[in-house]
C-alpha cells in the first residue's frame, strides 16, 4: 500500500484528501486503495474498445468523481479531460488517452497479487 509521503511526491493533494477524511489517515489510505482498484477502470477500456461513447462517458464521469474526492490530482485531471471529450462526443484517440490513464494509475497503485 502506498504511503502518504509517496502520494504527496506523486502530486496528490494529500492535505485536502486527509481533511475530507476528517484527518483519519487509515481511512484515507484505505479509500485510495479502493478507488484505484475500482473495476470501472477496466470497464472503461472495454466500452471504449466497443465504441460505446455514452457508456464510456458515464463510467469516466463516475471515476472522475471518486478520484477527485480522493484528491489524486494527476489522475483526476486526465479523467476530467476525457470526460469532457466524451461528453462532447469528440472523435479523438481515446485509446491513447486510456493508456495514459492506466499509466498514471499504475504509479499510484499496484494490483494486489
Amino acid at each position: 500500500m502506498i504511503t502518504l509521503e509517496e502520494l504527496r511526491a506523486l502530486g496528490a493533494d494529500v492535505e485536502t484528501g486527509l481533511s475530507r477524511c476528517m484527518g483519519k489517515e487509515d481511512l484515507y489510505l484505505k479509500l485510495i486503495s479502493m478507488g484505484l482498484g475500482d473495476a470501472k477502470f477496466e470497464e472503461l477500456g472495454a466500452v471504449l474498445e466497443a465504441g460505446d461513447l455514452s457508456k464510456a462517458f458515464e463510467i469516466c464521469h463516475a471515476l472522475k468523481g471518486v478520484i477527485g474526492n480522493l484528491a489524486i490530482t494527476p489522475l483526476y485531471e486526465i479523467l476530467s479531460t476525457m470526460t469532457e471529450k466524451l461528453r462532447a462526443k469528440e472523435q479523438t484517440d481515446y485509446k491513447a488517452m486510456y493508456s495514459d490513464i492506466l499509466k498514471i494509475r499504475s504509479k499510484f497503485w499496484k494490483p494486489q497479487t
Binding site: 477524511c21 476528517m22 481511512l27 464521469h61 477527485g68 474526492n69
Partner: protein
C-alpha cells in the same frame, strides 16, 4: 431508547467510496443511514421518514437518479417534510434540482467537512423553524389562519395596499352550539370545514384572506363589497350537502373602513358586534349587518339601558298596559281578557320601545326580574279591577324561555295568584313559540304542571319561529296566537290566506282556539 434529539441523515450515492467519505463526515454530528440508488432511497424514506432530518442525494445514479427521487418526493408531498441537499458536479443540474424542491446543493469534489456540516445544519434548522411556524400559523381543523397570524397578515396587506378599501367581515353560524348538541361534535366539525371550504372558494374570486377564531367565528379581510353575495353563496353551496336550506343560518357582520382609521382588531370587534346584533333574528334566512355609526350609538344606548335597569325597577318606571282581547263569536265583540304588556317610561329617554330593551335584557339575564315584576303587577291589577269595578278580567302575561328555565317559576306564580286572592283560571300565561324549540321536554312538564293547577297556556307568535307542525300535537296548549306577519298580507285566495286557513284548520282539529294578533279594527 433513541435519543430524542438525535437526528438521522440519509446519504444516497451509488459509489461506495463517496458514501463512506460523506458518512464519515456526517457521523461526527448525526446518525447516518445509506442508500445506493434512488429506489432504495425512497424505500428508506418511506419506512423511516419520521426520523430522517435531511437527505444528501447524488444526482447521477443507476436505476433511479436524483431528480427522479425529487420528483417522487414532490408528488407525495414529502418534499415539504424533509430537506434534500443534492450532490452534483454539473452546474446545469443544480437549477433543475432546485426547481424540483431541493433545499441546497453541494459540489463535487466535496467541500471541506466544516462547510458540508454547516450547510446540513443550516438546512435542517430552516426546515424545523418553518415547521413550527406552520404548526401555529394555521388553525388545525380548518387550515385557515389562526387569529394572531390572520391579524398580522391583514395588517401587512394594509401596508402594501394602503389605498384599497377593505371590509372586515365576520361570518358566523347562528346557534352553532345547538347543532353540536343535536347532531354531535364531529358533525359540527364537518360543518366548520365546509364553511372554510366555501370561504376559500369565495376568496379565489374576491381576493383577501381568512382566518378562524373560536368555534364558529370566521374572520375575513376582503375587498369592499356591497353585500358580499359571492361569499354567502359559496358558503351555502358548501353546506348544502350537509344541511337542508332551512337549516342553514348564517350571519355576516361587516365593518368597512375606507380610511383605515381603526386598528385591525378594533375593526373586527365592530364587525363582530354587527354580526351579534343579528342574534335575535329567528327567521331561517342568512343575514348581513353592516356596522355603521348607528351601531356605535346603539352600543352606548344599550349600555345606558342596562345601567338604568335596577333603578327603573325600584322606581316603577316600567308600566304595565293591558291590551283587550275580544271574543267575536257572538253578534257583538265581547271583552273576554287582557294581555299584559310592559312599557318603559324612562326619566331621560322617555318612552322606550319594548323591542329595544326586552331582547337586551334577555341576553343579559335581567328579563326574569322584569317579567316577575310584570307578573306581580298584573296579579295586583286583576285584584284591583275586582275590588274597585266589580269585574273579573283575566289577564295573560308573557313568559319568556328564560323564565321557564327557572326552577321556581311555577311556585312564584302560584304565590302571587294566592297573595292576590285570584283563581288560576284568571291568570293566563303566554309562551312565545321560540321557547318551545329549545328544550321541549322541560317546557312540556312546566306547562302541564301549570295547566293542572288551572292556568290556561297560550302559544305566542306562532309562525315566527321554527316549530314543525307536529309539535303542535305534542304541545299542551289552550290557545294559539298567530303572529302578525302571518295575517298581514292576507287577501282572498292568495297563499298567505291559504296558510292561515290551514292553521285554523289544524287548530280546530286539535280543539285549540286561535287568536289573531294585531287586529286594529
Amino acid at each position: 431508547m433513541e435519543d430524542l434529539f438525535e437526528r438521522t441523515i440519509l446519504i444516497v450515492d451509488d459509489e461506495s467510496i463517496n458514501r463512506e467519505l460523506l458518512g464519515n463526515i456526517i457521523q461526527s454530528e448525526y446518525k447516518v443511514i445509506y442508500a445506493a440508488d434512488g429506489k432504495e432511497a425512497l424505500e428508506k424514506i418511506h419506512s423511516e421518514g419520521n426520523t430522517i432530518s435531511l437527505v444528501l442525494l447524488d444526482l447521477l445514479m443507476p436505476v433511479m437518479n436524483g431528480n427522479e427521487v425529487l420528483k417522487t418526493m414532490n408528488d407525495e408531498g414529502i418534499i415539504n417534510e424533509i430537506p434534500v441537499i443534492v450532490l452534483t458536479s454539473e452546474k446545469s443540474s443544480e437549477i433543475e434540482s432546485l426547481k424540483l424542491g431541493a433545499a441546497d446543493f453541494l459540489t463535487k469534489p466535496y467541500d471541506l467537512p466544516e462547510v458540508i456540516l454547516a450547510r446540513v445544519r443550516h438546512s435542517i434548522q430552516l426546515f424545523e423553524n418553518s415547521k413550527i411556524i406552520h404548526a401555529t400559523e394555521f388553525d388545525k381543523l380548518t387550515l385557515l389562519y389562526s387569529p394572531e397570524f390572520f391579524f398580522e397578515y391583514a395588517s401587512q396587506f394594509d401596508q402594501r395596499f394602503p389605498d384599497k378599501v377593505m371590509d372586515a367581515v365576520v361570518v358566523n353560524f347562528t346557534r352553532f352550539h345547538l347543532l353540536n348538541e343535536l347532531k354531535g361534535r364531529s358533525f359540527g366539525d364537518e360543518i366548520l370545514n365546509a364553511m372554510a371550504d366555501g370561504i376559500r372558494k369565495a376568496l379565489l374570486k374576491t381576493g383577501g384572506i381568512a382566518g378562524r377564531n373560536e368555534a364558529d367565528f370566521f374572520y375575513l379581510y376582503v375587498p369592499h363589497d356591497e353585500n358580499h353575495n359571492i361569499l354567502l353563496d359559496k358558503i351555502k353551496d358548501s353546506l348544502s350537502p350537509l344541511l337542508k336550506p332551512s337549516e342553514i343560518r348564517l350571519r355576516l357582520g361587516v365593518y368597512s373602513d375606507s380610511e383605515h382609521k381603526f386598528a385591525m382588531t378594533q375593526r373586527f370587534d365592530h364587525a363582530v358586534q354587527a354580526c351579534n346584533s343579528l342574534r335575535n333574528k329567528t327567521s331561517g334566512d342568512s343575514d348581513i349587518c353592516i356596522y355603521d355609526d348607528k351601531m356605535a350609538e346603539k352600543e352606548v344606548f344599550d349600555a345606558h339601558l342596562l345601567q338604568d335597569f335596577e333603578a327603573a325597577i325600584e322606581q316603577k318606571q316600567f308600566q304595565v298596559n293591558y291590551q283587550p282581547k275580544f271574543n267575536i263569536k257572538g253578534d257583538k265583540p265581547v271583552l273576554c281578557s287582557a294581555e299584559a304588556l310592559v312599557r318603559w317610561i324612562h326619566p331621560e329617554l322617555g318612552f322606550v320601545r319594548p323591542d329595544l330593551f326586552i331582547p337586551l335584557f334577555e341576553e343579559n339575564g335581567l328579563v326574569t326580574k322584569l317579567d316577575r315584576y310584570v307578573w306581580e303587577e298584573s296579579a295586583k291589577q286583576i285584584r284591583r279591577w275586582k275590588d274597585e269595578l266589580g269585574v273579573t278580567i283575566p289577564v295573560s302575561v308573557n313568559v319568556s324561555r328564560v323564565d321557564i328555565a327557572a326552577p321556581d317559576m311555577t311556585d312564584f306564580i302560584t304565590k302571587i295568584v294566592k297573595e292576590n286572592g285570584l283563581s288560576a283560571s284568571e291568570y293566563m300565561l303566554e309562551i312565545t313559540e321560540s321557547a318551545y324549540t329549545s328544550d321541549s321536554k322541560h317546557i312540556v312538564e312546566v306547562i302541564e304542571n301549570l295547566r293542572s293547577l288551572g292556568h290556561k297556556v297560550e302559544m305566542d307568535d306562532f309562525g315566527s319561529g321554527y316549530s314543525s307542525l307536529n309539535m303542535l300535537t305534542s304541545m299542551p296548549i289552550d290557545v294559539l296566537k298567530m303572529d302578525k306577519a302571518f295575517i298581514r298580507n292576507i287577501q282572498p285566495g292568495n297563499k298567505e290566506m291559504k296558510l292561515v286557513e290551514l292553521v285554523l284548520d289544524i287548530a280546530k282539529n286539535l280543539g285549540v282556539p286561535v287568536v289573531a294578533e294585531g287586529v286594529e279594527t
